[in-house]
Amino acid sequence: MTGPQTGRLSFKLASTMDSVAEIEAAAEKLAQDAGLDEDEGFRVAMAVREAAVNAVLHGNGYDPNKQVSVSFENTGAALVITIADQGEGLDPETLPDPLAPENLLRGTGRGIFLIRSFLDEVHFRQLHPGTELTLIKHLSPAVTQDKPQDLDTK
């Protein structure tokens, strides 16, 4: 991993579980450096890990020829994390509701739900090929009115 300790940190990783661990560790550090308490930091890191798993496993299918691109930024108002894969794309509208009674005992399908539950904003962007998730954790209530304008939300 390369990049400055402050500002925007971007890097590309192989489609492996080691990369997931590296991305999760970077999220933990971002949350810690931002002063989030343990519970909030856990939620941010877990959401980022789930997104990384989706990218490595479901997006890129562990393909050694495909990479996961990630960026971490503390804007002062929010933590903004992007994770992009090179897979066939994901339509979040087609995902079943894991809280529906008929889905509650399913063994899969909770990753995106957890990401949405643990963060303030989640945006999907289709890259053709691939999917980019932008994950946002607001750092204070005052910034909840200021949603990023340049994100393609589906």
Partner: protein
């Protein structure tokens, strides 16, 4: 930290003491194998002690659900003991807290199988 599992018996209940993380690639497969092994041996009362499990992801949740449904299909029970705050948080968000029988003390958990 990967998941470690130790097994003990108490009053007819098989207790699995889990420690570490239940996540994709780290603990999910170990938990799945342990449950399948017990069910395959005809064990009917299984208590998962999670007091030292400090992390569970969506894959781990899936394994807990699979353990629950696999057991039910074999007329067996899988119950949970001593959830950490983080695991409880995730189970509540996903509404799985309402699915499992969950206990805070071992004696009550053991008694519930009778």
């Amino acid at each position: 930290m990967a998941l470690s599992i130790s097994t003990r018996q108490l009053d007819g209940v098989t207790i699995l003491d889990l420690s570490g993380r239940i996540t994709l690639g780290e603990g999910s497969v170990q938990l799945r194998d342990a449950i399948r092994d017990l069910i395959g041996k005809g064990v009917k009362s299984i208590l998962l002690s999670l007091g030292d499990v400090n992390y569970i992801d969506s894959s781990g949740l899936g394994e807990l659900v699979s353990a629950f449904t696999t057991a039910k299909n074999q007329n067996a029970d899988v119950k949970l003991l001593n959830l950490t705050k983080k695991v409880k948080d995730v189970l509540q968000v996903t509404k799985l807290y309402t699915v499992f029988d969950i206990y805070d003390d071992e004696a009550s958990a053991i008694a519930s199988f009778k």
